[in-house]
Point group: C2
Chain length 615, copies 2
């Protein structure tokens, strides 16, 4: 007798999560459906070779793509998750680097604390009890007491009105009212002053950074950075938009994913800081324009289509419960205004933090390096902004053994007397290399003559003797940094150097084109402010050595950490800063770099390593 419908059992390691299936399924689908945190950097197209998993059990045979992309991993039992079809019981081992976990926190900031003057206020209000001689409604009873304290023209949502009768009677007419601007957003039993919190989020293409703030003191009481869980559907904004375009319901799905990630961060923060979720009344968000569109549930597709226009560039204010952010149900969400399709609220945040718009004299430059690089030039407070697509190489993606700046990532490389000295996050066994390590490595290769100015890794026989044994010449040339017992060699390949060159050329050319467009020379720049996750850890000597930016003979280069995130914090804890954020987009002119006639020349020129001269 034929056995029908035998169940398929799949176990995911190291978590041990078990899934039972009735039918064979693509592993990619299974991972997505089972809420396994795992990223497909190229969106599962089988081109990046990054979604390696160890598999045993009944699966489909190896594909050509796997044989081409990960030949050295196959014998160790690895497959590319995007190429696997589960056909019977199987075990899937997910390497820990694919799991979303805490990143090194990126908000060391500028050190300047904004004035604490948040839009959220708490007022303790003992109310007179109603009587036949005082039959005022509950809402008017509250409003009248607030009027006595000088608060006028107050509004209250119907959702809250519905709760008022119960709250004020349960609290014996002693309540604390929470005001946001002129709206009563919460009414709480008894005296709850001193418990007033807010959240500031930076939603990057690659990372999500959240800070829990005490709105009374302005103190940052907890913080958390995770990988943006949307990476499962592609590692840059264009692949996210493609996903939305080619999947019905794709926008809602990506929105749900980011909301889930944000709410996980909130859960972590409230639990770590021992704060009640209901005592969080506001959350501010910065992000690039695409991330902000998706967060708000707005289709970003026109951002990727000529002539690249956002649906909205104004800020968005909405109730937390309407968006699905799990804080006080009357809480507010503020999403920053954007400047252009590729210069979003994160750049507004950088400007707010650096106060470039307040400069009275001189010229300064801020560069926020992420998956995109946003460049802000201020000449006496007049702002010109541009965006350049660096790609995710600086964040470790599209690099053979690239990884995010997590434990186990090589973040610094030094070549000395034939030795390779590595700095590893967490001082553990290295598992891969992150952006700053890649920059160091290429810089050192260039200094030691391992690569030439064009970025070519010289053939083994033309290398210095001390480095020769580290050069492997398989299907492509590689430099072995170190050997790791579990994962084998950790190396930089020729393709990795090329990816790096593309990324650094984008940043360097972006800056040069922007300066040229406004008719300024590098000499006039007096300060370069370097912001962003990658910018936070880089060695400035390495950056100059490879030509990550043009040479500024008169400029001080300062690393300012996650300035976008700090902008979100400032707008959370200061009404004045919020107003500034609203104003900034109107002060900035956007330059479409690719539309400049010298774009291609300068970009090509910047591909060379070393200080690139203007063409």
């Amino acid at each position: 007798m034929k056995k029908k419908n035998k169940k398929i059992r799949v176990t995911f390691l190291p978590e041990g999560k078990k899934v039972t299936l009735s039918n064979p399924i693509e592993l990619k689908e299974l991972i997505k459906n089972s809420s396994i945190n795992f990223s497909f950097p190229c969106g599962g197209l089988g081109i990046c070779g990054k979604c390696k998993v160890k598999i045993s059990g009944r699966v489909n045979p190896l594909t050509l793509k796997e044989k081409k992309l990960i030949p050295e991993w196959i014998e160790k039992g690895y497959r590319l998750a995007c190429q696997v079809r589960i056909e019977g019981d199987a075990k899937v081992e997910i390497p820990s680097s694919g799991v979303i976990s805490e990143l090194k926190f990126l908000t060391q900031g500028l050190g300047k604390t904004p004035q604490v003057n948040p839009g959220v206020e708490k007022i303790y209000l003992p109310l007179p009890s109603p009587s036949l001689k005082d039959q005022l409604s509950d809402v008017t009873r509250i409003k009248n007491q607030l009027i006595k304290k000088g608060y006028k023209d107050l509004s209250i949502s119907l959702d809250l009105v519905r709760k008022v009768p119960t709250i004020i009677r349960k609290s014996n007419f002693n309540v604390t009212v929470v005001l946001k601007d002129r709206e009563i957003i919460a009414i709480e039993k008894g005296d709850t002053r001193g418990k007033k919190f807010g959240l500031a989020f930076d939603i990057g293409t690659t990372t999500v950074v959240g800070a829990l703030m005490d709105l009374d003191t302005g103190e940052r009481i907890a913080e958390r950075a995770i990988l943006n869980p949307q990476v499962i559907h592609g590692d840059d904004i264009i692949s996210r938009i493609s996903y939305i375009q080619s999947n019905p319901g794709g926008l809602k799905k990506l929105q749900r994913i980011i909301l889930k990630g944000i709410n996980q961060v909130i859960t972590y923060l409230v639990s770590k800081a021992k704060v009640k979720r209901d005592n969080i009344y506001e959350a501010t968000f910065v992000g690039n324009t695409v991330m902000q569109h998706i967060l708000a549930g707005i289709n970003p597709v026109n951002l990727a289509l000529y002539p690249y226009v956002p649906a909205i560039q104004d800020s968005i204010s909405i109730n937390s419960s309407k968006l699905g952010i799990k804080i006080n149900s009357g809480g507010k969400v503020y999403i920053f205004p954007s400047i252009a399709a590729f210069v979003g609220g994160d750049t507004v945040g950088v400007i707010l933090t650096t106060e470039l718009h307040h400069m009275k004299k001189g010229v300064k430059l801020a560069v926020d390096i992420g998956t995109n690089g946003e460049i802000v030039l201020s000449k006496e407070g007049k702002l010109v902004v541009a965006s350049t697509a660096a790609g995710p190489a600086f964040e470790g993606a599209r690099i053979s053994q690239g990884m995010w700046a997590q434990e186990g990532a090589i973040e610094g490389v030094k070549l000395e007397n034939g030795e390779v000295k590595l700095k590893v996050i967490g001082e553990v066994e290295p598992r891969g290399i992150c952006g700053s390590g890649l920059l160091d490595a290429v810089s050192e290769f260039f200094r030691e003559g391992i690569v030439d100015r064009s970025g070519r890794i010289k053939p083994r026989n033309r290398q210095k003797k001390i480095w020769r044994e580290r050069i492997k010449e398989d299907d492509e040339v590689k430099f072995i940094l170190t050997e790791n017992k579990n994962n084998g060699y950790i190396y930089i390949s020729q393709k990795d150097v090329r990816e790096f060159q593309l990324a650094k050329a984008a940043i360097c050319a972006g800056i040069k084109i922007l300066l040229k467009t406004v008719d300024l020379q590098e000499e006039i720049v007096e300060e370069v402010l370097l912001a962003g996750a990658f910018g936070n850890y880089i060695n400035i000597h390495s950056a100059y050595n490879v030509g990550l930016f043009p040479f500024f003979p008169n400029a001080r280069v300062r690393i300012i950490g996650n300035a976008a995130s700090l902008g979100a914090i400032k707008a959370l804890i200061s009404k004045e800063d919020r107003q500034e954020a609203e104003l900034i987009p109107s002060l900035a002119s956007y330059v479409e770099l690719a539309a400049q006639p010298y774009f291609q020349d300068i970009l090509t020129n910047c591909l060379f390593l070393g200080e690139s001269k203007p063409p």
Copy 2:
């Protein structure tokens, strides 16, 4: 073999609706669950004897309550629906008077048309197409064109932002923008000017009246009145509140019921007027405070508990889609402000219509007679208001053969030379008697000496000869008005006269107490304005004859129709009137009649028929 789970089939006539059950069930539950429009005037407690249905099939035996309340109906196959348990297949015939249907429309109004200046505007807007030189966001593109036309500081909801990119591209950048005050509430393809509609609703305890208005011309293009479908859970506000208190989820259920009724009215109106639902942008609502609370989903329980305070007395503005009113998804709902627990937005509407607050000199009185009677006194524009619980007798409830002012209702009665002359709505076979008919009947009884001043129907042997044969002395004394082939006699019983006396005493005493409280005499009143469903059809001679109100020697009495509903219309089509509505509650003082020391004396005195002297 024992047959298990035999299905029970129940057929409802005259609709023919069939319901299949697995188990026996109370008929009351079945009617509620099956959305059969049928009212239980006392909330199904078996005390009013009004929920008569004709039943054949397997049901429980007659109860004591039925034997006491409807002895004369039992042999004709009638039962009280609230006392019946369905135990097997059955047929249930619902008398048509219990079915919600169109009522005589009640908004003949004051004849004065307000200025047309609604808050909703339409602006046709050809937009410039975006280009590399004009990368403005879609929303800013629209706002900038509006700024050119003088509209500033505009907001737009996130829900609408999400739709903007598709709408403006599908319409080739030719759109019509709908503004409500400073909010963009809709963006439509092409030029849709000239299609701009609104709704004005009066939500009474007993009736729901809706009018569809053309917001360009101010014309009333369709209207509809139905019974409030909440009557299924009791015929006055106190029984509705009791239902909420004693049933978990009762508030949500009553809210759903009224929303469903409102949406049915809208469906009727748009289909009758051939208007698109999406071209309706606003709906205004008046109602008593309890109806308004339930409509907004606010628990009204404290309105019935000492010291009788509303949750809210301010107006409520909310998105139609959030409340569940099926008009344009960006449309707005405006619920009138209230004055006190029992003086609601309907009274504000009456004041707005009568403009009593604008009187420069003299004294006028407006009385809105519904299930409650609201009284407004204006002395030189200074307003004093009160409420008196008339009960639903004037609307036909709690009267042996009472019915709403529908086809078949006796609305006028005249006794002449031993003959009874009846005026029947629709000039059909009479089925029952409505409020104005009851008033006429009692007035004629009093004039002819059939009842004495105390309201007692004299014994048969003490009646004039011409009326004797119409007096029946069964368990209680009755006067037979006519004989109807289907339903038997149509009569007024002693109990009916008593119910009438209670209702008229409430109104008359309310007016007297209010005048006394502000130290005024009847002589000073120069006009009495009579509003409301009942007020619309009454014979003023009858009203004076029985003492429905005190004698005003110097006053003209005017019938002004549904002034509350007209108030809702005014606030819909005129911004200035909306502002007036907001202002009115602050101009009115509320008097709690029952708290006055002479309350009981005056009320008792007013129970007598004929002009009642002050005690």
